[in-house]
Structure formats: structure tokens, C-alpha cells
Subunit: 343 residues, 4 copies
């Protein structure tokens, strides 16, 4: 069985395992005050060309989202996001558990646009009784989205301009950031992301690390006392070195981009294979997740050799997800392509 | 510089690093549904001889405390603990952030006793306006305490009996559990802990693991839906295998006990060295943390070669902490002892 | 200007003012332990024929909703409701502020049905990763709804049966309960409400009182320690007598029903007037709120003499709301009818 | 039985009842947007000579404390107060329920001083791991304290200066403000309170109103969006007129001060009576609460005719509380004094 159902089934790039072993008995201060943590943060600041950016390494994505959002919002404020957004759909109400409503925006492909956000803001403040309604006060987007789709530079520019005009932070969930940036259809760089957003995170768990996400707060208005919040929510890893070392490795010699590119290009081969067979793709994803619409028979057939993830029904077809990752073997993808061709 | 200031400066026992490397590219399901997680949980259930116990592997101690406490208490309830208890003193209000008051009990050595808890409960329910006061509804203890001290079997028996009589859970923070259990002065086994408490955790971060704590809920009344809580608080590690594998290793061939015993016996050598020099020990600790009261001069002298942790002032002396761990080298301890002898 | 924009512009029925004055200098115990509070609770228990029901008098509706919901749900649980439900739309995230997600159900008229709730529950538990999603664990309905519509006995029976089958509480917001019960189209009695729901509240603020809502918890599973929650959320009125006395008055000689009937029958006159002019009613409301769709001109014309509440646009028309209440004068309604006829 | 156990057993000053009756059927906008609310706020702004102050009328004290504190603090921050402070001792953890720790300061008489606050702040920031500890970020004091004692102008000046130096708000709970201001021993005016504090509330529930507290936020840094917070916590009274009208009445012709003075001077007569009999007063209270230390016999004797409140044991004596209020009759106090003399 070749497993392609998700992008976090395996450990980490060998470089990370090697360095973990090598440094295992080094004595370092705890809680993110070691040299590896500092070095990794520096590399990320260099990468985005923002020497003042605030970088925190956290363990997981839900944690990162919950921390940043609850650190910034006041009690009566909520965060806008696509109804498919991870914070709305798959984090067991982590944001609400910190007291804040997730204000959903309908979305076909997982993205939202400036116009939708503007309408919510305008409607809110136009309402004479707006104090009876949660105040929309942050925008959350995912890049790539949960459906594998991307924002273009034009879209992000517009969203960012609106947020700045209205003085609300724009936060980007980059659980699969690398897979987005390395897509051929992506016209954004990590510097653009850093420039357009007030905060974003660079996903490690799904992109080469054992675990870990790098939260980058680029707007200094939102950095104050973040380490207290980190500790309070149980997110400050005692041996912060483990996080620092992983991101230090990923951001040495462009490793993060190389492994991301590997995954994305394999996904594009899968995409083409489906397209060649005239099998519809439910979302038009240029990244590492592909969502073909299969008949019962096709689904069964592919299921004999490949593990995929069931997504939803679409008419009389079934949408399933195939994922590639930094660790996916080209030969496995080739086998899948052959199987698709045989359908 | 020989670093003895805390017990989480180094990585993990080599067996763990070895297995991490070996299994790195294995594909396993996420979120704690893999075979290593299951195996580790089984071993712990075997260890405490409770085949029905609920075991969850979490990343850190603050997280574990906050999760269990907030999962069990209703909004108007609080948790009793020594004023020195970690949840009261060093977790940035993580418990309060979930809505619950920490009800403190004065303590000289870090332990609390059944009589103190009984008085709080009796006073609460005797007060005609008790609905205006947070309801004391759980007992939190640390073993060993933050001061290195231990509960005796008699003390724990009494505390447990009271809690059961009043139907409130007894929860034990075992961040350094191994170092307590392996103390020569300890008359409790892990089975006793499991039997007397409704839930407890087996610390990994400070005892041999890279990170990780094993929460064991022995009273089935408190297990329902715990995984939802785990996900909501950002505590469900995507690659749960990493936690499972670590605890599986620690609970193979009694490794957890062996490495704990190593640390505790080295600490006893340090303790004796101070006692031989008539240097007072601020807490009477039979575990891996030692708290000598030093003069300015002694402190400076030892500081030339050894890193310790400053604790507090005591009269004109300074209390500092020396910690041993699973990774402490006997030769380093011998050097410290020589230095103590030369004071 | 005749004001018909909402149902809480005026004080209380004269009987209440009279008794407040008469008892003003009586000395009574605080916090709901006085004889008026007890008497009112008894009358309500008698009214619903449930001698064991738990009755609490609270100050307002948002408070009542937030208290009951947060008292019952565990941290990972959410409450289902129509997207138009007051807790979702007009309480500034009060429920989320206690940590719980509001799980919305699309609704045309403000009601939801058993089938919709069943689908959410089934989908939740069918999802292999349901622990990543807020657990749907309570149903909130309003009666009448925010749009003036009602549940039939058949609908409520079915909803209640489903909730009991799945062991989740059914909670009814009765801010305008009287106006619903006294509608000619209503086939439910207050005893039915009490029997089918696990908890509900009888609105006073909009129905004859200066302020106050009577929360009735009929399922003993949800009553424990409620007074603690009340105090904690700042909802325990020091002079509870003020609430007791008001509800005691309202539930003497069927006053609550009489004044409700007055408002509803006046609303029916308004409804007929609009229908006679072939002016569409946006919601088919048999209760005290009426929602005509007006042209710009009609809206302006009526606005000269009458205050109404703007609701929303509908095509090229405007939906506005006219409300009657216990205090509305028949002559004012007659003037409105004349004005409608002149449109 | 003459009841002197607390100061909220009776209704309101007759002027309030009269105006409630007179205005009962007036139609006013809801939620604090009526003319009475505006007028009352204006009078209070005039009273403190701060035309820009933000005034909100709320229903009760616990609610007011919880609202202001949770509106201002960020998640990792706590509020310092005397261990006897109402928010710590008698509000069922309302502050913790909004996520914030109450950081207690030991106090003999209910007051705290600048030195104690300075020590907490200094110790916090001196601690290298202060991010592991709740950040002390607000000071809460009561005036009069729960024990009837007062801050002098010198004490308040010093506390205020410290808070401003460290940029943390000073908040004063004035549940019994009038009884403090009208004490002969008080050297503070309401203008001083307004000037030295960043926010405070003027208690109505215990001082002449049916219910209600006037929160006055004098530092504009803490006023933003407060009405959202009010609505979210269920504290925005639909018929805000009821609150406005009460405070408008209390602040017309100095009524608030006159009725406060009445209570305080009666309490002074009681105080002297106890002193004349050499009965120790547990707290040296110059306000409306008196705390004599009685023998079993004395307690029983007085209990035959008078209701008091039991406070605590003190050696072999019992501390009880006698309260006067705006409604206490001089003849009742005279009867108490005779009884004391007969002891």
C-alpha cells in the first residue's frame, strides 16, 4: 500500500535527524533561549529581509493560530475567515475557547477576497446596534488554502490594503506554505507574504520537520508580551532547541524550498494524469493536494494499491484527496500515474 | 562550566534518538492513532496494572495540567494546591486562562495534607453564602514537589481517602515522577500513585525524553471526550508517533526507572557532601533537586565552575538549586563534591 | 410620533409599579432568598405543573442564554441554532466569550427542524476525525423566533424526541414567550414547552416587567450548582425581591397571558391591514412583530407618524418591523391601520 | 426584629420610586440611549468635574468589576488586590472566569499600599523567568474596604503615583462609596477619587438605589468599545432608563451624599456605644459597617432583638457586623444603643 492520504505521515528530512542526534547531549538553556533557536530566527528574518520581525517557534498549527489570534483580539472582537478555514472547521473550536467568534465568509475554493471583507466591515459599522454584534477585527487566510488553492499577488495586495486602511491585522496560516510558494502558479514570494501580512506562520510539521511552526510577527504592534501568551497556553517547549534546530536546518541552503518544490512537482504530475483521463478535479489546486472526482469503481480500483483521503460527495462521484510531501517517492507517484492511466 | 541548574538542558536517552532515526520514514497515521502510541499506552497500563486506564501523550507539563483541570472542572469550580504548586506559581495563569481559580494552601515544603483540604471544604460548605465563593473541587499535588520533597504513602492514602469521601478528583503532577519513585525515602510505587489518584502524569521532558508527558486517567469518570479537549487546546501532536515511541522506549526494560535512579543517587551524593560541611539544606529533599543555603562567598566559589539556579534569600544566606538528571555524569558530580569539600 | 419600533420602550404593568412602591421599605434577605422570589417560583412551577422544576430569575436575555449554555456545556461542545438565532446574531458573542462555538443552521423563517439537527449530529459522528470538530451538544431555539414565527406542537415534539434520543438538551429562548403562546395560531401551551424542553425562559423585559427573565430548568440533570454560575457571571441581583415581585405579579390572575394576548391581537389587526392592501409580509408572523415589505414612498409616508424598525432590503422594497407590546394602545394601532389604508 | 445585617435589604429612596412611577409609560430608546441615562451621566461628569469622563450604568458590583477588568487586561495579565478584596473573596471567581488571575496581597484591614504593589512589580520584572508568571497589570482597591476602612488622601496619592509611573490602571470599587466619602475621617472627595483612579464605580445598590452602579472611566485609554463588552457580558440593560433615572435622582440636590451621611453618622453612634462599653471593634471602621467582638452571651443577647451578620471568630470572641444604610431609622439605632448599654 502506497500512502498518499496526507502530508504528515513521516518524520523529518534526514538532515534534521542527523543534527538532533549530534547535538543530543549538548547543554542548552530552556524555553527558546538557546543558540539554535536564535540562529533559526535570524535566518528567517534574513529570508524575509525584516531584521526586526518577531519569530516564535511553536509546536503545532492549531496552537499557533489560537495563540496569535487570542493574543491580539480584545474580548468583543472576532476573526473573519472562509467557512472552510482551518480555525473554523478543524480545530475543535480552539479560537472560540479563547472567547472569540469566528466570523465565516462563504467560499467556493477556500479563498476570500477584499470585497467580502469590506462588506462585513461596512455592514457592521452601518448597523446602529453594532455593539450587539461581534466586532470583525482580524482576517485569517490560509496559503495554500485547505483546498490547495492559492491567492495571487493581486488578491493579497488588495486584501492587505483593505486591512491596513481599516486597521485590522491580516494573519496568514502557512501550514503548507512551502508547497504554495513553490507552485509554478504562485506569483508571491515569502517576502511578499511578510510584507502584506501582519503575521504568518511557516509550517514545519507538513514540510520537512518532525513538528513545529515558525510564527513570524512582522507588525510590531502585535508582538508585545507574546512569550507570556506562549507559556500560558502551554506552547513554550522546554527544550526549545528542538524547534530552533529544525528550522535552522530547513532554512539552511534553501532546503525548505527544495523539499517543497519536490512535493509540488510530483503533485503536478498526478494532476496531469487525472486531466489526461478527463477526470475532473474538484478544486483547481496547483499545490501538493489534488482532489479528483472519482466514480465508485475508480475509487475502488485506486484503493487497492493507494491510500487516499475521502473528502466529500459531488453528484454521483466521490471527491478524494491525494497528497504529496517532501518525503514522497517519485517511483510511488509513477505507480499512481500508471494506475490512473489504467482506469 | 558544568551545568547543574536544571534537569531539561539535554536531549533524550540514546535509545530514543536511535529509534527516531530508524523509524523516521515509516508512514503512520497521525494524531495518536499509530502503533507506537498504542504500544506505549499499553506498556503504561501494564506498569500500573490497570488495563482500563486512559493514557494520553502530551507535549509539556503546563499543557497537561491545563488540559486535565479544564476538562474536569465546571465553570464555578477551582483547584486547590500548595501556594508553591507549579500551576499557581509558574504557568502564567494557564489554569485561570481556562476560567478556574487556583485556591492556594500555605505550605512550608511544597506538600499539602488532608487536614488542610478538609478545612477548606468544611469552611466552604459551612458558609451560608458559599455560592459567592469559588467551589473547591479538585486537589492538585506535585510528586516530587517543586521543592524536591515527597508525599509518604500514609499522607497520600489520607489525601486520597478524603478526596473520595468528598467526591473530588485528586490529580498528581509527576513532571519528575521517576526521580521521586526512585528515591530511597519513597515508600510509594507507581501502582500506588495510580490507585490513590484519579489522574496523574508521568514526566518525560525532565526524565529521559526529548519532550512529552504521559497523562494517565485512572478514574473513568474523567475520561470522556478527552481527545476533543486535547485538539482544542492545541495539544494533539500531528505526528503522535514521536510521543508514543519515546514512552514506549522509556517503559521498555524499566529504562525510566533506571535513568531516574541514576539521577537520584547522584543527588544523594551531593546532599551528603553539603551535610558533611554542615551546610544547611533549605528543603529536606530526597530527590534530584538539592537546595543548599550558601554564603555569598560559597556561592561565588561554586559559581566559578558550576551553573546552578538561584532560588531565594534566607536570612543572610542564599538558597540555590543543584539538579541532577538522567544525563548527569558521575564525574561531574564528583567534581562538585570536591568543590564543596574545599569550601 | 407613535412608537412601534420595539417592545421594550416602556416600563412595567401598573400592578408591578404599585407593588414595588408598597414593598419598598420592607426588609428582605438578598440574592433571591426572599419570600417574593419564592412565591413567584412557586407560581411558575404551578403554572407548568412541575413541582420540582428549578426556577431562577435573571435580569436580561443575553445573560440568561449565556448562563444556561455555559453552565451545561463542556469546553469542546457547541450549541446549534438557526443562523438568525439571537445568540448567534445579536449578543456580541456572549456564548463564544464563555468558550463555546455557536453552530449555525440555515433558516428561512427563524425555525430549525429535527432533520437539520439530525444531519449535523450524524455527520459529526460519522466523521473519522470528529475530535477535530466542535461537538454539537445542545439545541437552542427561540419561541417566537426573532422573526415572529412559531414552532408547531408537531415540530417541537419531533425536535424534543430527537434531542432526548441523542441525550442533548433542548433549550428555548422565550424572550417573547407570552406573545407566542397567546397567538391564535399557537397550538402549544406553557406546559408543553416545559415538557418538551430541558430548560426555557419566560421573558419579562418585553412582556410586562421593568426587566427580568424567569429561567426554568425542567431537567434535573442541568440544575446542579446553578446559583454559583449566576453569581460568577454577575447575574445574581442583590435585591432579588425586585425580580420575584415582578414575576409574582405577572403570574397572578393570568396577568402574563392577558397582557400578551392584548399585544398579539393588536398585531393581528396590523397584519390584516397590510394584507388588505396587498402589501407583502416578509415573514408570516402570527405574533406581536410584523414585517411588511414597503416601497420607498410607503416607508416615508408611514414614517411621518410612526416609529418602526428597519430590518433589511428585499428586492426594491424595504422590510421594516412594527411591534406591539403589553403597553400598546388600541387607538394608536387604529391610527396606524388608517394610515396603512391611506397608502 | 430590627435588621442591621446588611445594607441592601430595602428598596430605594422614595424619590426614585416616585419618578419610576411617573415615567413608567414614557417611551424611551433602549440600551442606555435615553435622555435619563444621558442626564445622569452628565450630572456625574459635572460632579467630578471631568466633562470627558466615560460613564456607564450597570446593574451590580460583581458585573461592574468583571467588565472593567476583563475589558482592560490582556490574557496573560492579572489584577492585584488585598486578599480580602471582593473580587478575590466573594465573586465566585468572576475575574478568573474571564481568564485572569487575582494576585493577592496580604492585608490586615482591607487596604493595600504602594510599597506592597511596588514589591510585586519589582519582583516580577526582576525574575528572569517572569514570562512564566502572571504579569501584574492592574490594581484593584475598595473604598471603603470590605472591612469598612478607608484610604487616606496620602495613601491614595502614593498608590496612584506608582500606578502611573508603571503605566498600570488603578481601579476603585465603590460599592459603598457614599458611606466612605461622608465619613468624618475621610479626607478625599469624589473629585480626588476621579483624579487618582483610572476608573471607579459609584455604588447605587447599597446606597439608595433599587440596583445599579455607575462605572466612571476617567482615563480615556480604557474607554474604547466598552459598550460591546457590556453587551457581551449580559450587562446592557434593555431599559437603560431605569438606571439613568435612579442615578439622575441620586445626583440631584446632593441626595447621594445626604443619604450616605445619614448612614455613616448612625454607624458612628453605634461605634461609640461599643467603645463606651469597652467592647473591642475588630476593624477600626469610620463608615457604615461596624465589627464588634462579642462574647457568646453578648452575641446571644443582642440577637434577641437585632439581626446582624456573623463575620469570624477572634480568640474566644465572635466578630459580627452591624450595618446601617440610607434607610436605617434613627430610632432603631437608638434601640440598639440601649441594648448595647445594657450588655
Amino acid at each position: 500500500m502506497i500512502r498518499l492520504e496526507c502530508d504528515y505521515t513521516q518524520g523529518a528530512v534526514p538532515e534534521i535527524i542527523k543534527r538532533l542526534a549530534e547535538t543530543n547531549l549538548e547543554m542548552t538553556p530552556g524555553y527558546g533561549e538557546d543558540c539554535y533557536y536564535a540562529s533559526a530566527a535570524d535566518k528567517i528574518r534574513g529570508e524575509i529581509n525584516m531584521p526586526e520581525a518577531d519569530v516564535h517557534f511553536l509546536v503545532g498549527g492549531t496552537q499557533t493560530n489560537m495563540l496569535f489570534i487570542s493574543s491580539v483580539l480584545r474580548p468583543h472582537q472576532g476573526v473573519m475567515c472562509a467557512h472552510t478555514g482551518h480555525i473554523n472547521a478543524h480545530e475543535t473550536g480552539a479560537v472560540e475557547a479563547t472567547g472569540h467568534k469566528v466570523i465565516t465568509i462563504a467560499s467556493d475554493d477556500g479563498t476570500i477576497n477584499a470585497q467580502q471583507v469590506r462588506e462585513i466591515l461596512d455592514a457592521h459599522y452601518a448597523d446602529a446596534s453594532h455593539e450587539h454584534i461581534v466586532q470583525p477585527a482580524m482576517v485569517y487566510i490560509s496559503f495554500p488554502t485547505e483546498n490547495g488553492t492559492l491567492y495571487s499577488k493581486a488578491q493579497l495586495t488588495e486584501l492587505s490594503a483593505l486591512c491596513r486602511e481599516r486597521d485590522i491585522p491580516l494573519y496568514l496560516d502557512g501550514a503548507r506554505l512551502g508547497y504554495g510558494l513553490m507552485s509554478e502558479e504562485c506569483d508571491l514570494t515569502i517576502c511578499d507574504i511578510a510584507k502584506f501580512c501582519d503575521a504568518f506562520y511557516i509550517g514545519g510539521t507538513k514540510v520537512g520537520a518532525l513538528f513545529g511552526e515558525a510564527l513570524v510577527i512582522t507588525n510590531s504592534k502585535y508582538t508585545k508580551d507574546f512569550r507570556y501568551i506562549e507559556k500560558q497556553k502551554g506552547a513554550m517547549l522546554a527544550k526549545g532547541r528542538l524547534l530552533g534546530l529544525q528550522f535552522d536546518t530547513l532554512f539552511t541552503d534553501s532546503l525548505y524550498y527544495k523539499i517543497s518544490s519536490h512535493a509540488t512537482s510530483l503533485a503536478m504530475k498526478i494532476r496531469k494524469a487525472f486531466q489526461s483521463k478527463d477526470i475532473e478535479l474538484y478544486f483547481d489546486s496547483p499545490t501538493n493536494q489534488q482532489f479528483p472526482c472519482l466514480t465508485d469503481e475508480q475509487m475502488a480500483k485506486l484503493g487497492e494499491e493507494f491510500a487516499y483521503c475521502y473528502w466529500c460527495k459531488s453528484g454521483d462521484k466521490h471527491v478524494v484527496r491525494f497528497c504529496t510531501s517532501w518525503a514522497t517517492k517519485e517511483e510511488d507517484v509513477d505507480k499512481l500515474i500508471e494506475a490512473i492511466e489504467r482506469l
